[in-house]
Symmetry: C2
C-alpha cells in the first residue's frame, strides 16, 4: 500500500494478509496532498496551518482544489467538480478546511459524498483536554472515537410503504464491521493506547448490533495486550458525558459514533481544538471538526488549532511522523504559554489574546520546543504508527430459504380477520405463522390494547421443515395475493445460514 492508505506493515501477522503494496513516494520527494481552503474562516485557518507545516519542514507537494460554496453556486449539486475529483484520486490525501453547504433544497452534503464515494470507512476523532491551560470540566480526558463511517442508518435507504408508515433501513455488513473493529484495535496498538471500548445496543438489536459486538469480542481475542469492554450505548453515552476520563479508544457504529463524538468534543471544553480523520483503504481526508463560521470570517479571530490537529494526523498518515512530532509539540508549547485565540481565552487562565495569524506565528516560533507541563508527544520514526488491515474473505455457509415476510397495506382490518383472509393463500408450501404490527405480534393471540396501523407483516414459513423453499414458491404466493387484490408493499425472505435463523421473532411471539 502506498503512503495514502491508512496502513503500512506493523506485524508479521498483518503482513501475511495485507493488500497489495503500492509504490511509495521516493525518499526525499515531497508527498502530493490536495488542500481545500473552504469557506468562511476556512481560508485563514488553512493559511495559518500551511505556514506552520512549512516552517516545521513538512515535505508536501500541495495541490489546491476548489470545493464548497463557489462550486455549489456554479450549479454543481455535490459541491465538487471533475477536476477536483481527478486531483483527489491522484493524491489520495485531502487536507480540508470547513465548507458552507448552502441551505435550501438540492444541495448534497459534500462530506457524505466524499466518505461514501471514496470508501472512507473510519472516522477517527481524538478528544483531549488541555488542563489547566484551557478551561474544562474534565482535566484528565484523552480519548479517541473510532466511528464506522459508511453503514448503519446513514445508507439513506428510506421508503413509505403505506400511508401510516415510513421506514429507514439500518444496514450492517460483516466486512464493514470487521474492518472498523480491526482498525480500532490496530490504531490503539499503534498509538500506545491501552483500552478499547465498544458501544452498541445489542440487547435490542440482536442481529445488527449483535454482529458488531460479537465481532468486537472475536477480533478482540487477537489483541490480549489491550483492555476491552462493551457497553450498552445509552449507559455508555451517559458515562462518556459524565466521566470521559474513563475512556481511551471507543469504537461504535455510525449513528452512535455521531452522537458520542459530539458529546466528547463538547465536554472536552472546546470544539475549536479538535481535528478528525476519515480513513479509507484508498484515500483519506483530514479536517477540523468545527464549521465554517461565516460570521467571523476574515477577522483574524478564528482558532486554527482544529485544522492544525488534523494536519498532524495527516502527517502521521503519510509517514512524516518526525514533522508531526515537531508540529504537535510546538503547538502544545504555544497553548501552554497562554497564547490563546478569543474562543479559548480567559482572563485568569490565559496569557496574551492573539489572532489567527499571530497564533500561527507563535507556533512557528516554538518549533523545536516541547511543552513543559503538558505531555510532549513522539510519533516515532514513521513505522510505529502504521499498520495493515488484512484482506477480507467471505465465510461460506449453507443458505436455505425457509419463509417470507410479506408486508401488506391494509387499513382498518382486525388481525383475526386478516389472518383468515390470508390463510387460504399459504397453500401446500407455506403456513401463516404470525402477523405483527409495528413489530408486535397481533396474531395469533394478540391483545386488544395493541394499536394497529395499516402496515402488517405477515410471516409465511415453510410447511415442511425437510426441504428448503424455492423462489418460485414465493412468486406463486405473491401472484395469488396480487390476483386477490392484496396490496403487498414489501417482501423479505427468511433464510437460515448453516441452520441458524437469519431473522428475529416478533415481540410476543
Amino acid at each position: 500500500m502506498e503512503h495514502s492508505a491508512p496502513a503500512r506493515l506493523a506485524s508479521p501477522q498483518a503482513a501475511r494478509t495485507a493488500p497489495p503494496q503500492r509504490r511509495p513516494v521516493a525518499p526525499g520527494q515531497p508527498t502530493p496532498v490536495c488542500v481545500a481552503y473552504g469557506d468562511g474562516i476556512g481560508p485563514e485557518i488553512m493559511d495559518a496551518t500551511l505556514r506552520v507545516l512549512k516552517a516545521a519542514g513538512a515535505r508536501l507537494a500541495l495541490e489546491p482544489i476548489e470545493i464548497g460554496a463557489k462550486v455549489y453556486q456554479r450549479g454543481v449539486s455535490a459541491g465538487i467538480d471533475a477536476d477536483a475529483w481527478a486531483a483527489l484520486r491522484r493524491t489520495r490525501v485531502l487536507l480540508k478546511a470547513p465548507i458552507t453547504t448552502p441551505s435550501g433544497g438540492g444541495y448534497k452534503s459534500l462530506n457524505v459524498t466524499l466518505r461514501k464515494t471514496l470508501g472512507l470507512f473510519a472516522n477517527v476523532r481524538p478528544c483531549a483536554s488541555y488542563h489547566p491551560f484551557v478551561a474544562t470540566r474534565h482535566p484528565g480526558m484523552n480519548l479517541v472515537i473510532v466511528r464506522e463511517n459508511e453503514e448503519d442508518l446513514y445508507a439513506g435507504i428510506e421508503h413509505r410503504p403505506t400511508r401510516d408508515i415510513v421506514e429507514c433501513l439500518k444496514i450492517t455488513s460483516v466486512p464493514g464491521t470487521e474492518r472498523i473493529i480491526r482498525y480500532a484495535f490496530e490504531y490503539a496498538r499503534a498509538f500506545g493506547r491501552r483500552k478499547v471500548t465498544c458501544m452498541t445496543k445489542d440487547n435490542i438489536m440482536k442481529l445488527t448490533d449483535g454482529l458488531f459486538s460479537s465481532t468486537f469480542r472475536r477480533i478482540g481475542a487477537e489483541y490480549p495486550d489491550l483492555e476491552q469492554q462493551h457497553l450498552i450505548v445509552d449507559a455508555g453515552a451517559a458515562m462518556l458525558a459524565d466521566e470521559p476520563e474513563r475512556f481511551d479508544v471507543v469504537v461504535t457504529p455510525n449513528l452512535y459514533g455521531d452522537i458520542l463524538s459530539d458529546i466528547a468534543a463538547q465536554v472536552a471544553g472546546s470544539i475549536g481544538m479538535a481535528g478528525s480523520a476519515n480513513i479509507g483503504l484508498h484515500a483519506a481526508m483530514f479536517e477540523a471538526i468545527h464549521g465554517s463560521a461565516p460570521s467571523i470570517a476574515r477577522r483574524n479571530f478564528a482558532n486554527p488549532s482544529g485544522l492544525i490537529q488534523a494536519a498532524v494526523m495527516m502527517l502521521v498518515h503519510i509517514g512524516q511522523n518526525d514533522v508531526a512530532t515537531t508540529v504537535q509539540n510546538a503547538w502544545l508549547a504555544t497553548i501552554e504559554d497562554g497564547l490563546h485565540t478569543p474562543d479559548i481565552w480567559t482572563r485568569h487562565g490565559s496569557g496574551e489574546c492573539v489572532g489567527t495569524a499571530e497564533f500561527a506565528q507563535a507556533v512557528i516560533n516554538r518549533i523545536g520546543r516541547a511543552p513543559k507541563r503538558l505531555a510532549a508527544v513522539d510519533f516515532g520514526s514513521g513505522a510505529s504508527a502504521s499498520f495493515a488491515l488484512p484482506a477480507w474473505t467471505r465465510a461460506s455457509s449453507q443458505k436455505d430459504l425457509v419463509g417470507v415476510d410479506v408486508f401488506l397495506d391494509a387499513p382498518d382490518v382486525a388481525p383475526e380477520s386478516l389472518a383468515s383472509q390470508l390463510q387460504p393463500f399459504a397453500g401446500q408450501a407455506f403456513r401463516l405463522q404470525m402477523i405483527t404490527n409495528r413489530g408486535v405480534k397481533v396474531w395469533p393471540d394478540g391483545f386488544p390494547e395493541t394499536f394497529c396501523t395499516d402496515h402488517w407483516r405477515c410471516r409465511f414459513v415453510a410447511r415442511s421443515d425437510a426441504a428448503a423453499l424455492e423462489h418460485g414458491q414465493v412468486v406463486a404466493l405473491l401472484a395469488n395475493m396480487a390476483a386477490a387484490g392484496f396490496d403487498f408493499v414489501k417482501t423479505q425472505h427468511l433464510y437460515r445460514y448453516g441452520g441458524a435463523p437469519g431473522f428475529t421473532m416478533g415481540h410476543g411471539q
Copy 2:
C-alpha cells in the same frame, strides 16, 4: 376516559375529538392500583414508598401482582403470568419496583413486553437537580424527556438477507408520531413548562426523522404559548450533556430518547432520585429508573426516592393531585433537611445518613410541610394536569405504485456486469434505473473505489410516467428473475402519495 388513561379533558378543542369517556372512579372511592414489589431492593423501596403514600392520605385499593424473577423461574419466559395480566387489565395502573431479568437466553425483557402489549407509547422521565443538597455539576437543571416508546429500531424487525449483510428496520408511524408529539406539548402546558425541544437526525433520515420533525413543527403551531426548538440529535445530545439547564421538555424518537434520558439522569447527579412514567391510552406504568441492585438488597441501604417520585407521577395521573403535592413537598423537605441515604450522602453536603426505612419515616414526619429553599410544588386540583389526546384520522391520498427495489444476493459480481444481466428482465413495464450497494450508487457511473458487498439494491421504475404499475407486473418481473436463478432476497415497492415520492434517492444518484 377513566382515571387510568393519561388524559381527561383540558380544552374544548380536545373535547371535540377525545376518545369515548370511561366511567371514572366514584368520588371518595379508592382507586384500584396494581403494585409489583419486584426483585433485589424492590420490596424494601416499595414498602417505604407505600408507607409514605398511606401516611399522605392516598386513596388507593392496592392489588399486589407478582412479576419478575420468581415468575421467570417458574418457566414463564415473559416474566408475567395470566393472573397478573388480568389484574393489570382491570386496574390499568401499575406501580412497579425494579425487577431482575435472569441472564442467559430465552428470557424476554418484561418492560419491553409491558410497553408493547399495553401500548404505553410515552416514556416520561423528569430529571432535576436538588442543588445544593445533592451534589451536581448542573444546579439549575430541571427537564423532562418525553420519549416515544413503541416504534423506531425497537420494533425488533431484523433480517440477514445475504451472508454479508444484516438489517434492522426503523419504523416511524404517522399516528404514533402525532400522538407522542401532541402528548409532549400537552404535558408541557399542563405542568407549566415553557419550552419544547425536539431532537432528530432529519438531515440524514429525511423520511423517517423528517416525519418526526415536520410533525413537531406542524402540531407546534397549535401551541404558540410554548417556545419551540428543533436540534440535530448529535449536537443536541452534546448540549444536553454539557448544559442541561438549557432544556425544559425534550421530545424524541425511541432510540435517541433512550440515550438522552440516560445522559440526563447521569448528569443530574444521582440515578437513584428519578422516576419515570410509561403512558398509554388504556394503561400506565410508573417506576424508578434504577435497577434492582441485588448486591445491596435487604440491607436497608437503598434510596426509595426514585420510586417515591414515580408514585407522585402516578398520583397526578389518577387525579389525586392533592396527595401528590403533599408527598412531593414532604420529600423535598426531607432532602433539604439533609436526611440522605448512603448513595447521595456526603460529609459536607448532608446531615444524617439514614437507611431506607428511616428515610421513609423522615418523609412521613414532614407530611404537611413544604421545603424552604427548594421550590415547593403545587399540582393543583386534579384538573390542571390532565388533558385529552384527539382521536387520529388517517389522511387519504392517492397511492400509486411506480417501481420496485429488488434486493439481490450476488457475491463477487461487478456492477456493470450485474446491470447488463438485469436489463433484459425490465421488459415493457420497467426500466432499470440504478443499482446501489450499502446505499451508494454503483451503477450507472459508479466509482471503482466503492467497496461492494454481496447485497445489491436494483431499482426498477415504471417505463411510462403515464400509468401506475400493478402488482402483477412486479410478480412477473420476479418470476422471470427467479427462473433465471437470481437470488432476490427482498423487494420494496416504490409508491407515490398524492404525486410525491415515498422513497429516497441513492447516494450519488
